[in-house]
């Protein structure tokens, strides 16, 4: 141990370290040497008591750490216990960043107290930037998801309206029109078809951008693994079901590997949306049953809830955007609309029907990869 006033002691203090010794288990924590100014400002009681630190009053953090320190001193040898950084405030309100290390030296129980200063600020700066990045990424991720759903909804609405215009124009074209009318009809027809192509191109560009952000592989071309999609969606939903006290009865694993021609991320969101929808309508202590039935060329997913049975006419309109008959939130209407877009885009079907014994069955049927559509 360095003697008080020795060069070693001065060097330790210059580096921001001060030493305390512990006199036996539960004994007083005595300062070794002369307290530097910052320590005296932080804990004036240290000097007043002649070098003994009244730990309980001075620092609840240190008091807590001394329990770990005692264990370390009891073991002895080369054992070390570190407190991790903490912040104290002196009488003037200035913050002092500290870290304590318990060790045994020359048979004595020693507490090394370090004033962190610049090292603390450097560490804080790195953590600050890292955490800001994580938060920004979370916000961006969430924003992209919302925009993706909205973009699909808007595009779907525009495509449907354009399809009506194109059909009407074709019907008019069949009538006995004059040359000028024929010319104008041709122009109008071509413009609407160009609009339709443009909408699909915009969706394609957005998909590509998303792929760039998340580095997704093009699962649409090779197909998504159904079992993985289902398992991931069930795993994500499980905590929500547990919270509400709703039992989730789902198959542990499907019998065989099945590929479906869809984007895995989109499909996972479809399943997640159906599970969230079922959970929303099922009372606590209720049950949601999830089943996958394999047909020769297709896969059928059923999600059955205990909620109030929906009228057949409500079921028919449930997947339309902003369905006014849907008693649930606007968000849930949008969720179901998104499901329809994704399922129909990959050649599948979606629907719902009330169950005879109460509750509702939501289902999607997806053509297997390689099967004739």
């Amino acid at each position: 141990m360095p003697d008080a006033g020795s060069p070693a002691q001065s060097i330790l203090e210059a580096l921001g370290f001060v030493l305390f010794s512990r006199k036996g288990p539960g004994g007083a924590l005595r300062f070794l040497g002369k307290a530097p100014e910052w320590l005296d400002t932080l804990w004036p009681a240290l000097t007043k008591s002649g070098g003994t630190l009244p730990v309980a009053d001075a620092s609840p953090f240190l008091e807590n750490f001394l329990i770990d320190a005692e264990e370390c001193w009891r073991r002895g040898g080369a054992e070390r216990a570190k407190s991790g950084p903490w912040i104290e405030q002196d009488a003037s309100g200035a913050e002092v960043q500290l870290e304590a290390t318990a060790m045994t030296a020359d048979g004595q129980s020693i507490l090394l107290l370090e004033r962190l200063g610049e090292a603390f600020e450097a560490r804080k700066s790195v953590l600050q930037r890292a955490r800001e990045t994580v938060i920004a990424h979370q916000r961006l991720n969430s924003e992209i998801q919302k925009k993706e759903i909205l973009l699909h909804c808007v595009a779907d609405e525009m495509t449907a309206a354009l399809a009506n215009v194109i059909t009407s124009l074709r019907l008019i074209e069949r009538e006995d029109n004059g040359p000028r009318t024929k010319l104008l009809l041709g122009l109008a027809s071509r413009a609407t078809q160009e609009q339709q192509t443009l909408i699909h191109r915009i969706l394609g560009v957005f998909e590509d951008e998303l792929r760039g952000v998340y580095d997704r592989s093009d699962t649409t071309k090779m197909g998504a693994d159904w079992n993985t999609v289902l398992r991931r969606a069930l795993d994500s939903a499980a905590p929500l079901f547990a919270e509400k006290g709703v039992r989730l009865d789902a198959p542990a694993a499907a019998a065989s590997a099945v590929q479906v021609p869809a984007d895995a991320v989109h499909l996972e969101r479809v399943v997640a949306n159906l599970l969230e929808n079922a959970l929303e309508h099922t009372p606590p202590s209720g049950e949601v049953i999830v089943r996958t039935d394999e047909e020769p060329e297709a896969l059928l997913l059923r999600v059955e809830d205990n909620g109030p049975a929906l009228a057949p006419e409500v079921c028919e309109n449930l997947f339309a955007k902003w369905d006014s008959s849907n008693a649930a939130s606007q968000a849930s209407a949008l969720r179901l609309h998104f499901c329809r877009i994704v399922v129909e885009n990959c050649g599948g079907e979606i629907g719902c029907a009330p169950l005879p014994a109460g509750g509702n069955r939501f289902w999607i049927r997806l053509t297997k990869t390689g099967a004739a559509a």
Binding site: P60, N64, F65, I67, E99, R131, E132, P284
Partner: protein
């Protein structure tokens, strides 16, 4: 004098430090400043006519960069879980964190503060989710910025920690 140790728990950036600053000093800053390690504050409150000093341990956010040190929880009388209503993921994370904390502390009073209530239009946590949580959690919407719900959250926890004599 009765002292009760209270830990602030949650992932980073949810507003734990801001809630403490609002509760103890009636202060708020829009600037996000990450917490490294632990900072302890004290505030006295009245519970059933008795003065109780809350010793509030503001712990660094539990995330991939810094894991919660369970030794800091020793002697905790109650804890305030904090999630950010504008980031749904922070609620999922704090629900998981509560399970880990319960393994260490056992049955200990806690309150869940859903913070950033002043940013309601940006919220990703809907009422259905809050209702689903209500069976297992006491949920209080808070705004460290405007002070709404802050006193209520700490007062509720203080009452839970100090049953009537």
């Amino acid at each position: 004098m009765i002292q009760k140790k209270v830990c602030m728990l949650g992932t980073s950036g949810v507003g734990k430090t801001s809630l403490v600053a609002q509760f103890v000093h009636s202060m708020f800053s829009d600037k996000y400043l990450t917490t490294v390690g632990v900072k302890i504050d004290k505030k006295s409150v009245q519970v059933n006519g008795t003065e109780v000093t809350l010793v509030i341990w503001d712990l660094a956010g539990d995330d991939d960069f810094q894991r919660l040190q369970t030794s800091y929880l020793r002697g905790t009388s109650g804890y305030l879980l904090v999630a950010d209503g504008t980031r749904r993921v922070t609620l999922d994370q704090v629900v998981e964190l509560q399970k880990r904390v319960a393994e260490t502390l056992g049955a200990t009073p806690f309150v869940l503060a859903l913070n950033k209530a002043d940013l309601a239009p940006q919220w990703e946590v809907d009422e259905a989710r809050i209702s689903a949580l209500a069976d297992n959690f006491t949920v209080i919407k808070t705004s460290a910025k405007e002070g709404a719900g802050v006193e209520e959250a700490f007062a509720h926890l203080a009452r839970r920690m100090t049953p009537p004599a």
